[in-house]
């Protein structure tokens, strides 16, 4: 009787133990790296919690709606010691020379810690060289010349850096390339946009 009782007791204890163990395992499932799903977070007290997070480090990009008009960057005026916004325009017939020279100017400004606001391309102007025929009055096309233009817009140029920069640019100017330094105005900015004749006509009708 005591032996039977003891067996019953043992089995009851064994079952109780196995139940306890099962409960324990259910509460803390073993995370196998292959089997665990990807988007579960690690437990917050683990030292590796949050490992792999990177989106909070990247600055938030403002979503650009298509209706937004392109805003003009602020045109700085001149101060006592610095020039305001300047446009350095490089133009010429040979595109490789013009592009390489404008890239050189841009890199030089980075080197000399001169802030570059923008760097853009103006549309290419095509010129047809017409020659008069030797016998006869008809003109025929002799050559087609394309003038390429690149603009590097500097936001502010220190007065002490100006002669240095200009001297270096002029000494390294390639042949056949024209360099022009001018003040940047709103007219320059507006000239880059295409005109909209229908819109202007409608506005004129409204105001008339």
């Amino acid at each position: 009787m005591s032996a039977v009782l003891r067996k019953v007791c043992v089995t009851r204890q064994a079952s109780a133990l196995s139940q306890a163990l099962a409960a324990c395992w259910a509460a803390r499932p073993l995370q196998h790296p292959v089997w665990a799903p990807v988007n579960t977070r690690h437990y917050r007290s683990m030292p590796t919690h949050g490992i792999g997070r990177w989106r909070h480090l990247v600055p938030k990009e403002k979503t650009k709606k298509k209706k937004d008009k392109i805003q003009m960057k602020e045109i700085l005026g001149e101060t006592d010691t610095a020039y305001g916004s300047l446009n350095v325009t490089v133009s010429g017939y040979d595109m490789t020379l013009v592009e390489h020279y404008s890239q050189y100017i841009h890199n030089l400004c980075h080197r000399l810690a001169i802030k570059v606001a923008e760097s853009y391309i103006l549309p290419t102007k095509t010129t047809e060289v017409m020659l008069m025929q030797e016998k006869g009055t008809k003109m025929f096309v002799d050559a087609v010349l394309k003038t390429h233009q690149r603009v590097v817009q500097l936001s502010s140029l220190d007065a002490t850096a100006c002669p240095v920069l200009l001297d270096v640019l002029l000494q390294n100017q390639p042949e056949g390339v024209e360099l022009c330094v001018s003040q940047h105005t709103e007219a320059h900015f507006q000239a880059r946009f295409k005109g909209r004749p229908e819109l202007e006509g409608l506005i004129a009708q409204l105001t008339y």
């Binding site: 001149e78 006592d80 010691t81 610095a82 020039y83 007065a159 002490t160 100006c162 002669p163 240095v164 200009l166 001297d167 270096v168 002029l170 000494q171 390294n172 100017q173 390639p174 042949e175 056949g176 390339v177 024209e178 360099l179 022009c180 330094v181 001018s182 003040q183």
Partner: protein
């Protein structure tokens, strides 16, 4: 020392619209420069409290440069590299329209000369039959023969130190022989600063007062690019004068106009030749801002 610097700080800077055009070697061995000032320089004289005058004599000098007219020749390594790059580009490139036309014309010509030629089989090519691409090439070749490029190196002019046409591939600096305190010295043209003008105006005056006429220059900015301090020997020092300070301004020769009569007191020197003419201490300061790239 304090006076002109403070005045410069209160001067609104000149806005310039300058166009620098680099054309092929023209008759004038000088680059075309044009400047139009958009807003002028306005001087604002502040009211100053009375201060004892500075013991330094202030002078402004102009570093007038003639920029290189042609690009410098490549060194042997550069030449080989350039040849290799050109060959690579040629091998990677596609056939251009003109070359395609040449090939088509040659092929059509060979077909025409074959015995069983039927001109109806040809598509209509219009005036391409009249003017072949080869004819165009021949006419271009003829035009090239008539073109005479200018001389890159003019050995006679190189020797003459007063000529503007010398050393077209290097930048040249104007050096003048001027009377300084009893000695005639070779230095960059300078003159003394006067009350009521900016240092840049002093430098412009120094340039205009040179015997050579017709030297039109564009100043590159209102700020000086270098300074040279000269202390008089102890014997010559007085209460009011300890020495001189010379401020250098950079200017680019725009176009020299009529060729001036060569005067013995003016020279156009390369950076390497400056050492022969300028005093060592002066040369050390000038060396820092004269660029010979």
């Amino acid at each position: 020392m304090a006076a002109p610097c403070r005045r410069m700080a209160s001067v609104t800077l000149l806005y310039f619209r300058s166009c620098f055009r680099r054309t092929a070697v023209g008759s004038a061995g000088v680059r075309q420069l044009s400047t139009t000032s958009v807003c002028g320089v306005t001087l604002q004289t502040k009211s100053r409290t009375e201060k004892p005058p500075s013991p330094w004599t202030l002078m402004a000098a102009v570093c007038l440069q003639r920029l290189p007219v042609i690009s410098a020749d490549c060194s042997p390594v550069e030449q080989r590299f350039r040849q290799m790059l050109q060959q690579m580009e040629l091998e990677k490139s596609l056939v251009s329209e003109h070359e395609l036309r040449l090939l088509e014309d040659a092929e059509r010509l060979s077909r025409k000369q074959a015995d069983d030629y039927d001109s109806d089989d040809e598509g209509s090519h219009g005036d391409q039959d009249i003017v072949l691409a080869q004819d165009l090439e021949d006419s271009w070749e003829q035009k090239l023969q008539t073109f005479q490029p200018g001389l890159r190196v003019n050995a006679d002019a190189d020797e003459d130190l007063t000529s503007l046409e010398r050393c077209l591939a290097d930048p040249l600096v104007l050096v003048a022989e001027q009377q300084v305190g009893g000695d005639k010295l070779w230095l960059l043209p300078q003159t003394q600063w006067q009350e009521g003008e900016t240092l840049r105006q002093t430098a412009e005056r120094a340039l205009n007062s040179l015997p050579a006429a017709g030297l039109k220059a564009t100043f590159l900015g209102n700020a000086p690019c270098g300074v040279y301090k000269y202390k008089l020997p102890k014997a010559a020092r007085t209460e009011s004068t300890v020495g001189t300070k010379v401020f250098f301004f950079k200017a680019i020769l725009s176009d020299s106009g009529a060729p001036a009569a060569p005067s013995a007191s003016l020279l156009w020197a390369k950076k390497s030749e400056l050492q022969r003419y300028l005093k060592p201490a002066y040369m050390m300061k000038v060396d820092r801002f004269v660029l010979a790239l």
